[in-house]
Structures are given as C-alpha cells and as structure tokens.
Symmetry: C3
Subunit: 346 residues, 3 copies
C-alpha cells in the first residue's frame, strides 16, 4: 500500500502507543490498533491488560462485558477470561477445555503512555521501546506534558512524511508559526542505530518572537535549529530550535514537540502529541501555552493530511511520485519501514 | 460467507416471510429479500402479488409506478405488467413482444404473514411452508399476536446462533429476564424431519416471578422448560417454560416466543417476532404485556447481534471459531443449511 | 461497465463542459471530471487554466494553495506551478529539475461554458467542439440562457438513455408537462457526421396550452415536433416542438432544451442545462419562465435517474436488458460511444 510496496501495511514487531495512561482504568476500554480490535483494562493492582477485543466464541465485542476481579466476562454467553487470555469459566458447561483461550497482548506502561506489542509476543522485549528519554519524556532535568490523543483519518506513513520534512512549516503553518525562512535552508541527514535525524541549522540569528517568549532574559543572537528525529515506527521528535546562545555557547533551553502515533487501520491513525522542555520546568502557564500552540499547529496538519489521504486512496501506487532533496529523511525512513516489513514477512 | 462455506449465502428453495399482512395493500410496497428487490401489492380481490422490483426495460424501481386494476405500470416509460409478470402495454409501440416479461414470485398468505418463494418457482409447494401450528400460529386453542417487523443489521445466521443457544439469556438478558440459573443447565438436542429441537428442563421448581404473573392461580411447583425449535431457515420457536404443573401433572399453559426472519441482504435481516399462548386467550392486556416483554428482550439482542455482525464482517472466515457443548443445536442447524445450499448448487 | 462493455467507462478524446464561466475566476476552483481531480482558475488576463488538482509532490489538493500572478503555489511545501504545468519554484532547494511538472489540461471558453479536454492533449483541436450553434447557443438570431450546474448521482449514460427516448415524458413528466399523447407516436432516427437525431412529428394539431403561452398570437394549427439530437458525448439537444405553423408554412419559433453533461465519476455526472429560442429574444420574463419550467422537469428526471443508477449498480451487466423500438436512438448512441472507447483503447 502506498507509499510502501503492494501488500505491505505496517511493521508489527514494535512497541506502539495504545493509550494515554488516564484512558485505561477499571472500566473496559476498546481501541483498534493495527487493524485489530483490543480491549484494555487495569488489574486490581493497577497493571494494564490488553486482550483480543472480540470474544473467540461468538464474536461479541468484549468491551460490552464486565470485569470480575482481574478477569473479564463476555456479555453474550458469560465466558470468563483471565489476564493471560485463558478461559476460566463457561457457564453452560462444567469444565473448560484447555484449548479455549483468547489472545493476550504484551503491554507496558512508560511515561504517561500504555504501549502494546502487536507482533510475535516472544519478541516483546521492553528493551525495544523507542528512546523516550531522547525527546525528554521521563528524562531527568526535563518536563514533558501530554496533549492527549487525537484521531487522524490518514495512514501513519503520511504523518511520517509530514514530520520528517519540516520545510512545510513555512507554508502549511504560515498562520500558526509564521514565515520561517530558515525552514527552507538545506538539511543534513544522519542515521545511526535505526534512528534517522534531519537537522537544519541557521547560526547567529537575532532573537525574536517565539524565542523571546520562551527565554525572556536571552537577547541573542541564537543558533536556530530545527530537527526531526525518527525514533521508531510510532515516535518522532520534532524540535530543537532556540537551543544555543551564541557568544557564550551556553544552551538556553531545548524544546521538543513529540509525536507519538499508532496505526489504527490501514488508513487511520491514533495521534499522541506531547511537548517536552528542559527549562522553566515549574512554569505551569508555559506548559499550557506550549500545548495550546501545538494544538494550533496540529489543527493545520490534521485536515491537510486527511486531504492527502483521500488523494492517495484514489491514486494508490499508480502515480509517479516526484520527490526532492527535502524528502531525503522521509524517504530514508520509508526504506527502513519497508525493510522491517520485509524482514517480518520472511 | 461466515458461518457457511465460501460462496454460500442462503438457501433459496424455501418459503420466507416477506411482510406482515397489513403492510401490503393497494399501494405499491417494496422490500429487498435475499438480495433481490421485489414490489408487492394486492389484487382487487385482495390476493397478494410479488413482482421483480426493478423494471426490466430501463431499471426504474416499480414501486414508483401505479396500479391499474390488477396490473402495475412503470413510471418511467409507462410499461404495464400483469400479475404473472407478462408485459401487456408498451405505450410507444402498438404491440408487445411475448418475450417481454418481468419476474413474478410465488406468494402465499398464512396467519398474519405474506410468504414468498425466492428459488425455483416450479418447486414452490405450499406443503413446504414451515409448521406454523407447531408454534401456535393459527392453531386451534391458541392465540398468537404479531410484534410487527423489525430491521436487523446482521446476517440471518447470527440470529439462528442466538436463538438456538438460549444459554445467553442469563447474561445478555440479565436486565430484561434476570438471572435464570436454569438457562445454563445442560440441553438435549433432537432432530426429526429437518427440525432441530434443543430442550432444557429443570423439574419441580417453585413458582416465582414471571410464572406467577402468567398463572396467578398456580402455586407450583412447576417443571421449567426452555426450548428452541428450528422449523425452517426463517422460523424458530423459542419458548416452552412454565408448561407443566407438578403434582397433578396437568399443563397450565404454554407460551412461545416465535421468531420469523428473512435475509434481506447478505448482512441484514427482516425480523418478524410474535408471541403465542394456549391460555387466557381473551386477555388483551396479557397480549400487550407479552409483546412488550418480547420487545424489551429483542432490544438487547438486536444491538448485540449488530455488534457481532461488524465483528464477523471484519474477521470473515479467517478466524478459528471456538465452540462449546451449548452450541450443538446451532451447529446442527448450520450443517443443515449448508447441506440445503449444496443441494441447490448442484 | 453497464451499459457498455466491461472495462469501458467514457470516451476521453472529446471536449467536455468543465464549468460555467462564472464558476471560475481568480479563486482556485476544484472539480472532478472523468474520475480526475482538476483545479481551475483564470490568469490575470482572464484566460481559464486547468491543472491536475493534486500536487505531484506529496498529494495535497492544489485548491488549498494560492495564486501568485498566473501561477499557483501548493499550500503543503510551497511548490509553484505555471499554467503549462511546469514547476517554477521549490522553496527547499535552489533549483527545479526540468522533469518536475504537473499535468495541464487544454481548456476553451465558448458560450457560457468552460470546456476541457481530458484525453491526449495532442488531439485537442477546437474544431472538435460539439456544434453548440445547432442548439442555438451563441448562434445569431437566438437567445440562450444557462440553468447553471446540477449534480446527478447517476452515470452519464443513463442521462443519454433518458434524453434520447422522450417517450418517457408522458409518464415521468405527467406532473410537469402533462399527458402528451404525441410523445408516444413512432419516431424517425437519422444519423450523419456522428450525430444521432430522433424526431417525432404530429402534423396539423390545434394550438393549445404551452404552445399558446409561447406564441400568444398564433392560433394554429401547428406541426408538433419533438426531437433529440445527440451532438457529442456531453451535449444533447431536446426540443423542437411548436416550430411550424401550418397553412402558411411559416415557422413561428423554435425552442430547445439543451443538456450539457460531463461524467464526474463512474457513477455521477455534472449536469449543465440550458434553454435556447429564436423568438421573443428580449423577453426576460419568458427566459425566467422557461428556465423555471426546465428545472421543474429536471426535478423529476434527476431522482428517477438516481434510482436507476442504484438499480444498475446492483444489477451490473448480469441482467438481460429488454429494449423496444423507442430505444433505437439511445441504442445507436450507445454503440457509437462503445466504438469511440474501442478506438481510444487501441
């Protein structure tokens, strides 16, 4: 499927963000992830659980059932399943065959997100979680705020294209961010350990507007840096500007707009934006201002990506796609994703 | 198509309920049945007629036309068709070629329902009507009330699964019927003459609640019986409880919830519920109470089955389905339906 | 696709009406034509332009962009395209590869319509425009009024069927036009230079109703003529009645209901109706009355054709279609369209 090869959809052997922590509790919660319906809840001790969202007996969604302690009971014929997917009660008969199970998915809770592993459970190693600390999530000396969850009616790869080429800021975000000439300077791409970084740096600029809002006591000049960091199929860091004060060479503060995202279906995406910074950590008003600014920017991205989705649904892979230098980062990520999917298909 | 084999949809050489009698009159009435659009009306003598709902000339729905005596005239170019499907007038030319016909479907009116035969008309034998008297419809000593027609956005086989395994009552209907422990006792399945019966009996129980509402003068104890009777691809009887008074052995009254149903499309169903009883025949208030109770129960079944339909649309036949002892009746019916479809395909 | 052969959709090497002149100006305007999304605008000198509606870089609809002089700039990454489709600016890099182009479509403005050529641009000869003067559009001695644009949720071929067999008037338009017995007299079909004409003539009739409204001073008798003229895959003239006064043999005035139409998608059509006459040219009230009458008639055709569309979507090419003598003109046009599509496929 565009922009991948025919039959390729998404890599599965990765941790994806399933939900914000606050979304999952002692009430059953359903979400579709990578085309599969899952039901989520917390055990009495608070640990999150993810099971197949459809009862394997006669297909009623489990979300309509009820919790009984750590187990969940289907509302249709009353079958009860444990957190590991084992059926522990079939009311219409005295015993439960051991083959009677539903699928349980590995889950982890890190920072303010619940992560799920949709691929081979044997490979669900917590060490494979993408590097949240790189963005400042849960990292010492940083403050990070979640912007909740949004729904994007576009395939996840379009969001990756968007985030890995920030040259769109000067046009799509001319209302929310303004005419950033620097967005169009040439970018450098590097890759290491499966991460792809695109960095645009414009040194020795006067401090203006948003920079002075962030750092009122810094008069500049500043090195303006914009960066996109692909950290995994569902986590991209976009940020970095206003980071270094020229003259003294001392950093005055880093600001990241963090983009967690998870394919819902082939053509829709759950979007988990956040903001992280390493300065003015206790300033709650600044947090609210940055979250508001991020929502304003996303309110331009989301409808544009949904329009692009409709275009590519119609055009599919039949059309010659023209790419330019600024697409280098996105194209590199695309190739990496294709490699991941090929490896899984073997 | 789930739960049948690939390419199998519904058996055609059977009588299906097309409409309640009161729905069809001297105004044209359209209904889709087994994926075909039909137009219904009554002749001047009251006999019901069913014709192809789409004009064979240029495809306007016939329902937009007009009756002329016993014939119907299309609104597009004025072609007129007789009750046997013969075209009897083409206004733009003096004569009508004898090959110019539309399809007429065999119909019968029995009890308060109009039945239609969608398969080979040569096989449309009234003797093949399912045994309505078994449920108490139009049977001496019984009173039966129609609950009209409902629309179910689920394939008919899911309704059969539902009705042939009443162990779901204790869970899905916990609000409307309550915790019937007896619903989960083991059931006996029998089959004769193409009918499949599932019976659960719990003898010698105290008379309570609903039983005392039905039979105020019966103090029990009673034999509680729940039964599902598959009488044909579109008629299932579910009922039977509260039927025998212990001690004297005299029956105190039988009550049936009758479920007529007809595939509309591959994934939707027309649902014709009714209630029949052989006691308190003149008690109009009891009729209304029972019809209301049936609607309350169906208001739990319908959304659940529509959720299941969405699940199976997504999952198709790709998923391993787990079945248990209580599914024996439904599985037996499923096999019979598959045999019917195989026989028709030859 | 019905009513054509499998794989055949619409002929492409023809001029189709894209828009009314007043719809296109200095604001970007999007319309889908023959399944392709196009963006329209006028150059500063007023000449209309049509480009691919989707940016060839990352697929955002161009309609969201902005005009810069005669060029258009995409809102996503700021790529700018000239009226011939050449990319003239890629903001993120200093130069533009010459291969970087979008598709430009040949356009013409004639009468009150903008015409577009969707096929091979090398064949876009203005001489191939259908004969608008035949209908009285832009012809000396005639007045023509546009009825704007309507949207029809039916394939264009159903509109052709409708317009080439006016025997439907006596039935579908019994409310708006009345029982025209003459509509059902035999028709003569002729063909020359790719045009198909169907003419029904009833000579020497008394002047009544609509005729007297048009020509208050003409007492008749009159020759009543109804005609359908297929002038191209997107232009049919339907009219001609009330044209000749008997006795003197002097024409008292011709009136045409002109039907421009353009496939939007496989199953929807843009409809551009108009009215033309060669009498009472300065009578604005008569123009408004005729446009109102045309809208009244189309308000009967449009829902009927949309019902037929739903029928044929369901039935496809699987069903035996019965045709009669009155279909001769429509069937001839159908064959010509099939020939056009076959010629293009070679």
């Amino acid at each position: 499927m565009y922009p991948f090869e025919d039959g390729q959809t998404f890599p599965k052997n990765h941790w994806y963000i399933a939900a914000c922590s606050h979304e999952v509790g002692r009430a059953l919660f359903e979400r579709t992830i990578l085309e599969e319906r899952l039901v989520f809840y917390r055990k009495e001790d608070g640990t999150p659980v993810a099971l197949d969202g459809i009862c394997p007996h006669r297909n009623l969604p489990m979300v309509q059932g009820e919790l009984e302690g750590d187990a969940v009971r289907c509302r249709y014929h009353g079958f009860r399943f444990d957190t590991d997917g084992r059926c522990t009660d079939i009311p219409s008969q005295p015993t439960v065959p051991s083959s009677f199970t539903t699928r349980a998915y590995p889950v982890l809770e890190r920072w303010q997100w619940i992560w799920v592993w949709m691929g081979d459970p044997a490979k669900a190693d917590p060490a494979l979680l993408p590097d949240m600390a790189f963005c400042g999530l849960g990292a010492p000396g940083w403050r990070a705020d979640s912007n909740g969850v949004m729904h994007l009616k576009a395939r996840f790869s379009l969001l990756i294209d968007n985030l890995m080429d920030l040259s769109h800021i000067a046009f799509l975000h001319v209302q929310s961010i303004g005419k950033l000439e620097r967005a169009t300077v040439a970018a450098e791409m590097t890759e290491e350990n499966g991460r792809v970084h695109v960095v645009r740096c414009t040194p020795n600029q006067p401090a203006e507007g948003f920079h002075r809002f962030l750092h009122p006591n810094c008069n500049g000049p500043v090195d303006l840096t914009m960066r996109s960091d692909f950290l995994g199929p569902g986590l991209i860091n976009a940020g970095g500007p206003y980071s270094v004060m020229n003259g003294t060479g001392e950093p005055v503060g880093r600001l990241n707009f963090v983009h967690g995202f998870t394919p819902e279906t082939l053509q829709t995406t759950h979007y988990f934006p956040a903001v992280a910074r390493d300065f003015r950590l206790d300033d709650e008003g600044l947090s609210q201002a940055l979250l508001g600014q991020e929502r304003k920017v996303l309110a331009e991205d989301v409808p544009a990506l949904e329009h692009v989705e409709l275009s590519v649904q119609r055009l599919g892979n039949t059309r010659r796609e023209l790419s330019v230098m600024a697409d280098a980062g996105a194209m590199r990520v695309r190739r990496r994703l294709i490699e991941m999917m090929k490896a899984e298909a073997q």
